[in-house]
Symmetry: C2
Subunit: 473 residues, 2 copies
């Protein structure tokens, strides 16, 4: 494809996206197609000869779009949103066009340095402790997801706990990871990948009121384990759990980790973004204890997936844990010690130029624009919670400090599951569920920049209608 | 950013990329800036208020582009190329605009099904064994990189070798991974991540002529290890090693793996793409023995990074090894068993809609266009090798079955390192180096769709000039 062919086709694709965004709110949020419908519409093999872009775009409309879950729909309230934005898409487009592979500083000096600076900008934006900034012994890096951040943190912790022998002899299965029972499933997966197995994770009880990790339970678990010859290697604390956005108390957890010399990773995948607003930084109290921290700009900071921002307080230790240096990657810049090679900060070798989308987002919105986006989400969630709280058939489940509201009908789990199924079947909204204290609970998470009061009110109206049918007043 | 603002800015960015591609060949391939130059040009923090896209694009030109290594430059011959193309960028742009997160079938039915079909298309295109196709017990998935594919293969192998106990109790450090001394560094990294440590990798000697794994050495290593109580868990064979594109003999290696019940992963990260041409499928002989296989469309198949295509012969075993199912991800489609949830096929939870760029590439080029691209690379490499072979100051190192040529001056390592430094300092080309049998060796890898005979001839001419200065005739 020549540059001029690309120019013409590129304008068409940009227009396609602009039209999609302008109309996405009119589509059903999720596909009504059964499994296999999309695959059945596609040919069995690739075409022998090339086709024009117009043919592919026509099939995009006819074959692919009807089979989508529309994550950017203003009525998408499921999971945590993975919102994107115009500037993010533009930054990513530049990244695709440059096609830079930034595994080493030498293979992409600007790719590396813009990333370092963007992570410092984000650290300032969230008012993270100084120790995470570059030039202070720490530093940040973009991971694909919080799952990978948790895995990397686990590996560094095992390296530290292994006293330098982990790289050579492998994992010591006496090492243990601690997380609350509400910690993300990626903690269990990281422990499995790292060779600890399910037995290597110690679930710590939560306070039933707050769903946050109980420091007393953590201490008790550590003491019992140490007495039994088990070696605590890492505690993963969560700021904003996936189920209910509970906030583990970092001041107490951090003090315990410091006392026992345990690596502390803080997973703020979703809620970390809230810290762009000074009044929403409460979850980060005690963060100065953390050895590593992450949050996902791709969840609630207008940056397209994938973009997890991960910081460590001791970058030398991270590099020591993960570096491998074959001859074909040796180069003068690396050997000078004056540069960062981000391949040593992650699992894969290669990496895209993801800092560009952060740069575009941070500059387009500015600090003020990002704060406004977060505050809008919090206000919409509060508005929805007020509706729920004002209807005595419903119960709010826990607090809603960010933009997630958990709630249920005062009825059996089956009725709540049916409620969820009915509102989702309208195609106007998409909510998901969890279990809190074993009980089926609905979740409504606000995050899309397109979501307004009207969309939240519509969600409430649909829920009310379904409740009328299921549970007559 | 409204859809109309996005439309205007998007056209500008598309034009920027078209102009960049039209002129990239006139830029120095690598930046002349010292470490820190890009960072020093950037403000210390994010702007308080938003800025227009034009301001960011102006800074892209002024601050970022001068600090780039231009991977899409027609004179980029380093590492293995990570080539992209117009249709790939367009497919990725659609993916960014849709902002779909395809962790589950339910969160992106079309994202999941298009990926399954594209991996089947690729399997057909490369004529991979039937066992890797969906519907035959196997199936394909997009990983970010071959590093991650090797890690996933290692985890599945450890699950199998652990007899089902690995998920629960963790890794058994008696398990061992085997790869040739020329295997990629990601094999060592995967073993380290998986908790085996460096001791868990047994490097197998290569045939000094071909640099390919010696089956006799593999058998000897396995027999000695088994006798010593070590348990062989996985062999990673390489089709097209990073140093020299050596091809490990799969028929012999596969038979040994079958005899001992060892998991066989085949890493064809770079060279696998060659198999789109029937006459270049020799490296895949014996692939029917493999339990898993991968190659990178992002290296030599016109698809932008990241896009590694990874297949397993037994998808149920893969899912068993990697699945974790928290309540908040439970859904009817998953429980029906009728769908694929690709989160269980990879390390992270979240995933982008990367199948779109493959779809755009496969349809724009068609089978014929892709074959033509591969053949062009092979022919250009052969042309360059002919020049090298015709100059008795130079020696070709090994064969050049694909598009990589290894060579050196008949002189000391220092002279060869200086030769590389001088040609790279011209800014017209970028080559990298390796060591073969301990000797410093230059590598020229062709891959960019913009590279023509003139660029390869220029590389040769620059090498000749530098050789004249270093080693007068």
């Amino acid at each position: 494809m020549t540059p001029d062919e690309f120019r013409r086709a590129g304008h068409a694709v940009v227009d396609w996206i602009a039209d999609y965004w302008a109309t996405v709110g009119q589509r059903p949020v999720t596909s009504q197609d059964p499994p296999g419908a999309v695959a059945a519409r596609l040919p069995a093999g690739p075409p022998e000869h090339g086709e024009p872009v117009e043919a592919v775009l026509a099939d995009l409309d006819a074959l692919v779009v009807p089979g989508l879950t529309h994550w950017q729909h203003p009525g998408f309230f499921g999971y945590f949103p993975a919102n994107t934005s115009g500037p993010s898409v533009l930054g990513d487009l530049v990244s695709s066009g440059l096609g830079v592979q930034g595994m080493l500083w030498a293979t992409g000096p600007a790719c590396t340095e813009l990333e370092t600076v963007m992570l410092d900008w984000l650290a300032e934006l969230l008012d993270l402790p100084k120790r995470f900034r570059s030039g202070s012994g720490g530093g940040g890096v973009i991971q694909d997801s919080a799952s990978s951040a948790t895995l990397v943190a686990t590996l560094v912790a095992l390296h530290r706990a292994g006293g330098g022998r982990w790289r050579e002899v492998g994992v010591d299965r006496r090492h243990r990871a601690y997380a609350s029972t509400q910690g993300h499933s990626s903690i269990e997966k990281a422990a499995r990948i790292a060779g600890l197995g399910a037995d290597g994770v110690r679930p710590v009880e939560v306070d039933p009121e707050t769903q946050a990790m109980s420091p007393a339970a953590l201490r008790a678990a550590i003491e019992a384990d140490v007495a039994a010859g088990v070696v605590p290697a890492i505690v993963v604390a969560t700021v904003g759990t996936t189920s209910t956005t509970a906030v583990d108390p970092l001041p107490e957890i951090g003090a315990i980790c410091a006392e026992y010399g345990i690596f502390l990773h803080v997973d703020a995948a979703y809620a970390g973004a809230a810290a762009v607003c000074p009044e929403l930084r409460f979850g980060h109290a005690g963060l100065e204890y953390a050895d590593s921290y992450c949050f996902d700009p791709h969840k609630w900071l207008l940056t397209g997936f994938d973009c997890d921002a991960f910081w460590v307080a001791d970058s030398a230790e991270l590099i020591e844990a993960l570096s491998v240096l074959p001859e074909y990657l040796r180069n003068a810049a690396t050997e000078s010690g004056a540069v960062i090679d981000y391949r040593d900060w992650q699992v894969p070798l290669g990496r895209r130029f993801r800092a560009l989308k952060l740069w575009f987002v941070l500059r387009w919105y500015g600090v003020a624009g990002l704060r406004s986006h977060i505050r809008s989400g919090v206000a919409l969630a509060a508005r929805f919670a007020e509706r729920v709280g004002g209807d005595d058939r419903f119960a709010l489940v826990g607090a809603h400090p960010y933009s997630l509201v958990c709630f249920r009908l005062r009825a059996d789990d089956e009725v709540n599951a049916e409620l969820l199924a009915r509102v989702n079947a309208t195609g106007r909204v998409h909510l998901t569920h969890t279990r809190v204290d074993g009980r089926y609970t609905l979740r409504l998470a606000v995050g899309s920049p397109q979501t307004t009061e009207a969309h939240v009110d519509e969600a409430w109206s649909l829920l009310g209608d379904a409740a009328d049918a299921l549970l007559p007043r």
